[in-house]
Amino acid sequence: MSQERVSLSKARQQWIGWQRILRVQRPGDLFFRGITLLFVLIVLGLVAGTAWILISNSLPTIRRFGFSFLTNKAFDPVHDVYGVLPAIFGTLMTSAFALIFAVPLGLGAAIFLVDFCPRSLRLVLAFLIDLLAAIPSVIYGLWGFLVLAPWLHNAGEPWLQQHLGFLPLFAGQPEGVGYLGAGIVLTMMILPLIISVSREVMLVTPIAQREALLALGATRWEVIRHAVLPFARVGILGGVILALGRALGETMAVTMIIGNQANEPSLSLFTPGYTLASVIANQFGEATPGLFLSAIIEAGLILFIITLITNILARWLIASLQRQAQGSRGGRP
């Protein structure tokens, strides 16, 4: 019943939309529409152009190595053999690490800011967190290189190994730089993003819903669990996707602390590794035309595809969440 109503109203909306487009309009409106359409087309053109340049310039390595480019460990300009398996693994590994830590931390912080924080403190904290998001990534990289890595090498990693060394995550020689350091820096970089977005969407939870739950005798946690989070989850997910995008593509900070060594993919967080973005940042300056340059551009293409896939998955997830939300509420007026 409710599903039908939703689809009916959708069809009606579409019809109205078409009517609007087809209706004869004043020249000013038409002109404005044309201009804005042009802007959209320019953006689309840029994306298509980027994809085209990446594909056409990486053809030499695609033809030469084919699928083995994705599975080969060595990136070896001396012998003209290229593969980016360690970089793909490192990109996914560090981004996943950052999300695993940043999402709960960020959500918790946002909940505190929205529901528990004294009003006087809230503005200051929110401002400081937004400020964190504005720090250039190279500063995080410097901090990672000069402060975090030495500390990890001398104290952090040996401690982890001593107490949790039975886990494969903490095996191997502590080097200071590696997946662990890169993951921590990335976590710090995407945390403010997640906090800011989550806070904004939680703030707009209808007050009536909160009050309704409170009136039923719900605790604060239950209000958050049943009113705020369901309302905000689409927005929060959007923030997480933004953060993931930043983590996948982050170049400067990661390059400074990941160790830049094409090691075999390994579960150990102590391993120095590589990411796609840092391969490009490191090698582009000295790359010579031919297979070398093509390999770097193909690394860019793979990063482009990974970002595309995660974005499509995210859209799909958001859409299904929205459908679910509408379904459970019987369609919002």
């Binding site: 001396v78 012998h79 390059t255």
Partner: protein, 377 residues
């Protein structure tokens, strides 16, 4: 009636303002155009006849950048006011820019390969050694100074075959030192660089195993270790990590007082890296190929520091624009002669006389149409 008048006025004003802005822009463009054309005439300078070219562009090696900055700051003062715009984009990018005719000259720490030379669409490319760089082995080992190393040991460390500081091979040549049982953290450059090229050519020269497994180039597939970006990155990583070893270009080491190891040269002597020992290495080569594309690692001579290499300027032999070609030849001539005075204060090794005379021949070989680009003697 009254509510309409202000809105009309509001409409009029911004338009006028835009018009004004447009006019101003047009005027500025006109002025800029005039300025350009008026500065195109001849200005006076020392020397016989000045070429009308007032601007040369180059791109490439970051290693050369401090020296080139100084040289190109001084050059317009002594020579016809010719400005040189140099972009330190990296040796590889400099070669690419030259091949794409974006710049008048490239600068590189590794000579162009035959493959790269074949990509030229404007005929042969000349290599002109412009300065000499050396690579120091930096280490961080608390309580240990004056560490001695040999080439084969260094290669074994970078291959991951020697993993601790108290390895018998290291102990054998460091009699008096108390070497700790500590893991060696191998640090290398993560970005492609001429320093890496010189270093790996040295390792290839002293270790057949390295040559067959890893080889030499601006970027290699490192068997072990961690990569750090730039000289400062490697030096910082070594400084931060107890038990680390890394290779850093000499000028950076000298400027920042970084501890370095003594290295055994081909004559069996342990030598510290310095401007003198690097020059001694360069001077020890007598059998110089005509195209000047050669490595000077592991030179003979008691005082020669073995990890040493040239940095080259690369130019087209046949200059399509003869006026520009003359200006370029004049610049290069100055760089290998008077310009060398700026090398030593900036911790670069000045060119030995044997190389300067070879450079002169290269510059004289540059052709501008039917005649030579360089007109002096």
């Amino acid at each position: 009636m009254t509510p309409f008048t202000p809105s009309l006025r509001h409409r009029g004003r911004p338009r006028l303002r835009y018009l004004g802005a447009l006019l101003l822009l047009g005027l500025l463009a006109l002025l800029a155009a005039c300025g350009n054309s008026s500065s195109g005439g001849t200005t006076t300078g020392s020397g016989s006849t000045c070429p009308s070219t007032k601007q040369l562009t180059g791109a490439g090696s970051t290693f050369d950048n401090p020296l080139f900055s100084k040289m190109f700051q001084e050059y317009p003062k002594v020579q016809c006011g010719i400005n040189v715009n140099y972009q330190a984009v990296g040796s590889g990018a400099g070669i690419n820019n030259l091949l794409q005719h974006i710049v008048d000259f490239g600068a590189t720490d590794a000579p162009m390969t035959n493959d790269q030379l074949n990509k030229s669409t404007s005929g042969p490319i000349l290599h002109i050694p412009i300065t000499i760089g050396a690579v120091a082995i930096s280490y961080n080992l608390s309580g240990v100074s004056q560490l001695k190393l040999t080439g084969p040991i260094l290669a074994a460390i970078y291959e991951g075959k020697i993993t601790t500081w108290d390895d018998p091979q290291i102990k054998a040549i460091n009699g008096g030192l108390n070497l700790p049982h500590k893991n060696i953290t191998v640090v290398h450059r993560s970005d492609g660089s001429g320093t890496t090229s010189i270093f790996t050519h040295y390792l290839s020269a002293v270790s057949p195993d390295w040559q067959s497994k890893v080889g030499a180039g601006t970027t290699v597939n490192w068997p072990t270790g961690v990569g750090a970006k730039g000289s400062s990155g490697v030096a910082g990583q070594v400084k931060n990590t107890d038990g680390a070893i890394g290779y850093v270009e000499l000028s950076y080491v000298l400027a920042n007082n970084i501890p370095y190891a003594l290295l055994q040269n081909a004559a069996g002597k342990f030598v510290a890296p310095s401007l003198d020992s690097a020059k001694a290495d360069a001077e020890s080569f007598s059998n110089i190929p005509a195209d000047l594309r050669f490595y000077i690692v592991n030179g003979s001579g008691d005082n020669a520091y073995p990890i040493t290499g040239f940095s080259w300027v690369v130019v087209y032999q046949n200059q399509s624009n003869s006026d520009k070609g003359q200006a370029l030849a004049r610049l290069l001539w100055w760089m290998v002669h008077d310009g060398q005075q700026y090398a030593q204060p900036l911790n670069y090794v000045p060119l030995p006389d044997t190389i300067v005379s070879k450079d002169e021949a290269q510059i004289k070989a540059m052709r501008c149409g039917s005649s030579a680009c360089y007109s002096g003697s």
